[in-house]
């Protein structure tokens, strides 16, 4: 039982990282209907920016987190402006292939600039104590990850539901053309979406680095794909769905590794994806929509 709860705790911290990345996927998909394959690589870039801010600039954890979020926001907007904006009216396959191209470009561009060798995140930047509740040891890092994720998710909910730009985002995602007619600047709204999503990915990168201590240029691929799975699981385009999907996926993964299937962990995420797509393509929180010619 204690083992089970322990795994549950691990799963929740892992899941909240997935949830942070998944939010970016789901917001972008909700607005431009594009799987932003490069999102996982923005996460990787965020981890590296955080790493360099801590080691080279000698900054504290929270400053590094903020710098990384800001840099990733700019980076995300740049990607959108350069690569995706010209393709807004192109076929979806063209957009998807571009996203794959951007993803490969960021990965191998990073390798080209700094080499493929991994880096170790420094330990003990934040004074962390482990908590023990009913015999379950919760590491300080888990608490930190959870606190950062929950805080960012609350901020996001606030932005989406209480601010003007959030209202614009909801309008554009509902009907882009109608929003344009109502005087909403669609381009700026899409850029804002990319900025927010990428900032969240950057934050996820820094906390991921803290948690797993090892970062490398290709680290964004698998968490990126799993975060997409999480977004689909919750119903793509739905913000609470992405959070729930991320947490659920993290918990499922931890339980699978706890049952001795750690080698199968990565496969489980994809099996979950295929099952969800077959049985409930709109996701757990989604409604079915009729398609028209």
């Amino acid at each position: 039982m204690e083992q089970f709860i322990q795994q549950l705790v691990n799963g929740i911290s892992l899941g909240s990282i997935y949830a942070l990345i998944a939010l970016g996927y789901t917001m972008v998909y909700g607005i431009v209907k594009l799987i932003n394959f490069a999102h996982g690589d923005v996460f990787m870039v965020g981890a590296f920016i955080g790493f360099y801010s801590i080691t080279i600039l000698d900054l504290g954890f929270f400053t590094a987190l903020l710098i990384s979020m800001a840099a990733c926001a700019i980076f995300g907007v740049l990607i959108e402006r350069i690569a995706y904006k010209p393709l807004r009216n192109a076929t979806r396959i063209a957009a998807l292939i571009t996203a794959i191209g951007v993803s490969l470009f960021i990965e191998y561009g990073t390798i080209y600039i700094r080499g493929a060798q991994p880096e170790a995140y420094p330990n003990g930047i934040v004074p962390l104590k482990s908590l023990e509740i009913f015999g379950v040891k919760i590491s300080g890092q888990s608490i930190l990850i959870l606190a950062v994720s929950v805080f960012l998710m609350i901020v996001l909910q606030f932005i989406v539901h209480k601010t003007k730009i959030g209202k614009a985002m909801r309008a554009v995602s509902h009907d882009m053309d109608a929003a344009k007619l109502m005087g909403i600047n669609v381009n700026n709204t899409i850029s804002a979406t990319f900025a927010i999503g990428s900032a969240l990915a950057g934050a996820a990168g820094v906390v991921f680095g803290m948690y797993y201590t090892k970062i490398e240029p290709l680290m964004g691929i698998i968490p990126g794909l799993k975060a997409f799975v999480a977004a689909v699981l919750g119903g793509i385009g739905i913000i609470p769905g992405a959070m729930a999907g991320g947490l659920l996926l993290g918990v499922i993964e931890s339980l699978v590794s706890a049952m001795g299937g750690s080698l199968w962990r990565d496969a489980v995420a994809f099996i979950v994806l295929i099952l969800i797509l077959i049985f409930r393509p709109a996701g757990l929180f989604g409604k079915n929509v009729r398609e028209k010619v």
Partner: protein
């Protein structure tokens, strides 16, 4: 009359292929071509098969599948088991590899091909990863360290497989079934409304594509001495995808030309893998921004040769027009 003409064209093409293959074989045996060039030739052949098989799925049927390396892996491992563990001859291995991949294509195709566009892409990507992880976890095929395979891929086998692949896929495209597939690519819901069994044709194209990917897997496995699950990750799938996309979504000759060109380029860049991938990805982005239909679009090389006759799409041998 038309049929006689076409048959003549077919046999003359085959004669050219045979002559080419015999001449190249002599050059290889005589040592005129050193091992670097021979390797490049073999990679070109394998990539042509892969590009052609994915072209059938993406270019003709419009199903965006990015898990093609999964079928390649299935074929490679199946053929390696046949020759190395069971001791059967290489031709049997090629056929078994194709059939195993086709069966896995059927198993994965029936449920996932109900999905569209991006969802299908991500599901097939997931499938490719699942195959890789399964292979990683089976000790019988060596797990992460992989299997050693003896070098059995010979030039005549390779040329024969490439020729068969191209002939089968071209003929399929020009058949009734192929036109049904093209109609699905153009508009799936409309095709469905016109009475085309879309699921059937999508699965059919998927299975044929998987079959040839499996054949390519057999040739690949018996060309490189060792196969490991890491060789069949989604980077490999993206490599194959790039061939099809750059050649032109919907153009067979485009895929083949892209396979030849890109294999030559990447062979020369193989000493600088980072540069290679950076260039690849830039080409992919620039291509999509400025020419999203690929080098050839949906045109075939033959429509350039007989200009004027078929300016729009292709006039097929039965006289019917398709705006491919």
């Amino acid at each position: 009359m038309n049929r006689v003409k076409k048959a003549k064209g077919f046999w003359s093409t085959m004669a050219v292929v045979v002559i080419f293959s015999v001449v190249t074989q002599f050059l290889i045996n005589g040592g005129t071509l050193n091992s670097f060039y021979v390797n490049a030739l073999f990679s070109i052949g394998i990539n042509i098969i892969l590009a052609a098989s994915l072209h059938l799925i993406i270019g003709i049927t419009g199903q965006f599948s990015i898990g093609h390396a999964g079928f390649l892996a299935v074929g490679a491992y199946a053929s390696a088991i046949v020759t190395m563990k069971l001791g059967l001859p290489f031709p049997v291995a090629i056929v078994v590899a194709g059939l195993t991949a086709a069966i896995s294509g059927l198993i994965i195709g029936i449920p996932t091909l109900r999905l569209r566009g991006d969802y299908l892409a991500i599901a097939t990507l997931g499938f490719g990863e699942i195959v890789r992880i399964i292979l990683l976890n089976i000790d019988y095929v060596g797990g992460a360290s992989g299997m050693t395979v003896s070098h059995l891929t010979t030039w005549p086998w390779l040329v024969a497989c490439v020729a068969i692949t191209i002939v089968v896929i071209v003929n399929f495209t020009n058949s009734t079934h192929g036109r049904a597939c093209i109609s699905i690519r153009e508009n799936e819901i409309a095709a469905d409304a016109m009475g085309i069994n879309t699921t059937f044709y999508k699965v059919m194209a998927f299975v044929i594509g998987a079959f040839f990917a499996g054949v390519a897997g057999a040739l690949h496995a018996h060309n490189f001495y060792i196969i490991q699950p890491t060789n069949f990750g989604f980077l490999k799938s993206f490599d194959i995808l790039i061939l099809v996309v750059i050649g032109g979504l919907g153009s067979m000759s485009g895929s083949v030309i892209a396979a030849i060109l890109l294999t030559i380029i990447s062979t020369f860049l193989s000493n600088y893998p980072e540069v290679r991938m950076v260039i690849y990805s830039l080409v992919l982005i620039v291509m999509m921004l400025f020419r999203p239909q690929g080098l050839m679009g949906t045109k075939e090389i033959t429509s350039f040769l007989k200009l004027g006759k078929s300016a729009k799409g292709g006039v097929h041998h039965d006289g019917k027009n398709t705006t491919a």
